[in-house]
């Protein structure tokens, strides 16, 4: 299914977003000034009709990447290109027509569903936001949308508080489809749902991609769902992409120790007798990660089993020598001084 020759729809280049620590007028009293790098030099591209999975633990900057791409927050530096057009510095009014093409599904089921509006009003608002449409057409289009997301027409009269979680998610998807988006940034679209409903939504998103030729940036902490959905996967750790490549390669033949640990935690959870080729040092490998001040050099070094095993090599903590993404064959990129399997 990966269509290698199709057009690039989204390209993100050296994207960074730093949040300033300052808050309030009296921040001058605060000695610890400066910024928190939530996203640091992230680059990737997404082709049409393709899904890019973005995984990582909470706080690693996944959601910030999504919000920055949609320009819900202004990037500190870097460039975002949509359909070959640089949208990094567009003004709000210039952005509005672009919102037809790129949409976001929020983790919160209620985002965008005004509890005091009926489903029909919510859809009508979305349908008419970018073009003038007669009421009759709105009616037809609403029904079409409900068909697309497998909801009964009778739900048109419901308020969102009367809907179940799965139905809310479907209405949320119908709402972004109503605009006619080609790129969907889905931020944890299934994490608030029950297992059986999660499967429905995953199937729905996959079907919609096939039918409508959508492109997804699919953000999730659920590795299996990402594996199922995505053609490519990028793994983020503390604001940086540490590994990126085709899904099979990243999940099956991980080169970065962090990716390896992520996927092996999945295996561990499933099997009673866990198989552990690398002995992960249990004591020190988890803990608070200081998001505000990542480790100098390789950010993962403090948790890294390879770093320990190799006797703490100096280059891993050398601030001047932070590992950069480099190709290890077949479009598979990894940012590590000592990638696994080499």
């Amino acid at each position: 299914m990966p269509q290698t020759k199709s057009k690039t729809i989204l390209e993100v280049h050296q994207l960074s977003k730093h949040f300033s620590r300052k808050r309030g007028v009296l921040s001058a009293f605060n000695r610890r000034g400066g910024t928190i790098p939530a996203v640091d030099n992230v680059s990737f591209y997404l082709r049409e009709n393709e899904t890019m999975g973005l995984v990582g633990e909470s706080g690693c900057g996944k959601t910030t990447v999504a919000r920055t791409i949609l320009r819900l927050t202004q990037p500190t530096s870097g460039r975002i290109e949509f359909d070959g057009r640089d949208i990094t510095h567009l003004s709000d009014s210039e952005l509005r027509p672009l919102r037809r093409d790129m949409q976001m599904i929020f983790q919160d089921l209620d985002a965008g569903l005004n509890p005091k509006m009926r489903v029909s009003d919510i859809l009508k608002e979305a349908i008419t936001v970018h073009e003038r449409v007669s009421d009759a057409e709105v009616e037809i289009k609403s029904r079409l949308l409900l068909d697309q997301v497998n909801l009964k027409y009778s739900k048109l009269g419901s308020y969102s508080s009367e809907l179940s979680g799965g139905e809310k998610r479907r209405v949320g998807i119908a709402r972004v489809l109503a605009v006619g988006a080609r790129l969907l940034v889905a931020d944890e679209p299934t994490s608030a749902l029950d297992v059986s409903i999660q499967a429905q939504v995953v199937n729905l998103l996959r079907d919609l991609q096939k039918q409508l030729g959508l492109s997804y940036l699919f953000i999730s902490h659920d590795l299996q769902v990402v594996e199922l959905m995505s053609h490519k996967v990028a793994v983020m750790y503390l604001g940086k992409i540490v590994e990126m490549g085709l899904t099979e390669r990243v999940s099956g033949a991980a080169r970065h120790p962090y990716t390896y640990i992520l996927w092996s935690s999945l295996v561990e959870k499933h099997n009673r007798e866990a198989t552990q080729p690398i002995r992960v040092e249990r004591r020190a490998t988890w803990g608070v990660f200081d998001f505000e001040r990542p480790a100098r050099g390789c950010r993962f070094a403090p948790r890294c089993p390879v770093y320990e095993k190799r006797g703490r090599p100096a280059e891993c903590t050398d601030p001047a020598n932070e590992p950069q993404l480099r190709d290890v064959g077949g479009g598979h990129q990894v940012a590590c001084h000592f990638p696994l399997g080499s």
Binding site: L72, R96, P97, F106, D110, A111, G112, N114, K116, V129
Partner: protein, 303 residues
């Protein structure tokens, strides 16, 4: 079954589940809330009727007619339903006419509080950043003045005019409105509600006017308005007592309580108590209306 304390009874009507929107009112909302709102609406209605009656001078008796033969008559004597005051004037008529003193000034105060409060609240909540800092400073600044002291200052500087007073009252009511709206917006933002609207491509003014103010703040604004009316009445009463309110012989509830209170020590309670009770029932009505509406609209039904 032990009946040491109250036994609560839960009934599933007919075994079927009823649709909330089709329930009768008393099942949708709690009974006290309905009573509160019903009473409050009655008061609002009475106030409106009194205002109209007073404006067209449709009063049962001449409110200014002095009758030295019938001073401080008890209720019901000589055609005076609520008795007479210390100059023999009809209390009922004066109470009805007294509304005039509050109505427009009170509305002015509410209008000032709400209009400025909405603008500042939206700026602080939606924009954030420096606007928020400046507005927080402003609201804290206004909150630093005890309302009555500020009014005395204005009175000293200008003149004891009810419209000046109500303007001060309106401005001192701004922080409450602004903070409530900004708080509401922050809650919405936390639920990604506003971001979702922006991402959809809605215009800022649609988001603010339709989604924030109309759908999410209307209850809050109604409540602020009813509370504001109650406060306006109490404030005028206090100022009447201090001698800066509406001046005799024009009746206001405040100056009626005040002038009647001079006869308290002689045991003549009525001329003061009648307007005091009018104030009590009216303000109670406004406050309960606000509370009941809040519970109903914000869905604070007990589970």
């Amino acid at each position: 079954m032990r009946r040491s304390t109250r036994v609560k009874k839960y009934i599933q009507t007919s075994g079927e589940v009823s649709d909330f929107s089709k329930l009768p009112l008393h099942k949708k909302f709690s009974i006290p809330d309905l009573l509160y709102v019903g009473y409050g609406l009655l008061i609002v209605f009475l106030v409106l009727v009194s205002y109209v009656l007073g404006a067209f001078n449709l009063l049962p008796n001449d409110p200014q007619q002095i009758n030295m033969d019938m001073l401080m008559a008890p209720p019901g004597t000589g055609g005076h339903l609520l008795g007479t005051d210390f100059m023999g004037r009809d209390i009922q008529s004066r109470l009805i006419l007294g509304i005039q003193a509050y109505f427009l000034p009170g509305l002015l105060a509410i209008f000032i509080s709400l209009s400025i409060g909405i603008v500042l609240g939206v700026l602080a909540g939606y924009r954030g950043g420096y606007a928020e800092t400046v507005i927080t400073y402003f609201t804290n600044l206004v909150d630093s003045f005890p309302r009555l002291v500020l009014i005395l200052l204005v009175i000293a500087a200008f003149k004891p005019d009810i419209y000046y007073i109500m303007m001060v009252m309106g401005i001192t009511g701004v922080p409450a409105v602004a903070n409530a709206i900004a708080g509401k917006i922050r809650v919405l933002a936390q639920k990604n509600f506003i971001e979702a609207a922006i991402a959809l491509g809605l215009r800022t003014r649609v988001i603010i006017l339709k989604h924030i103010l109309w759908y999410n703040c209307r209850a809050l604004l109604i409540i602020q308005a009813t509370l504001g009316m109650g406060e306006a009445i109490l404030l005028e009463t206090s100022l009447s007592y201090l001698g800066f309110g509406v001046q005799e012989p024009t009746p206001s509830w405040g100056n009626m309580v005040q002038s009647g209170a001079n006869y308290f020590m002689q045991g003549n309670f009525w001329p003061s108590t009648a307007p005091a009770l009018a104030i009590l029932f009216t303000i109670l009505g406004f406050n309960l209306l606000g509370d009941g509406l809040n519970n109903m609209l914000e869905g604070k039904r007990s589970r």
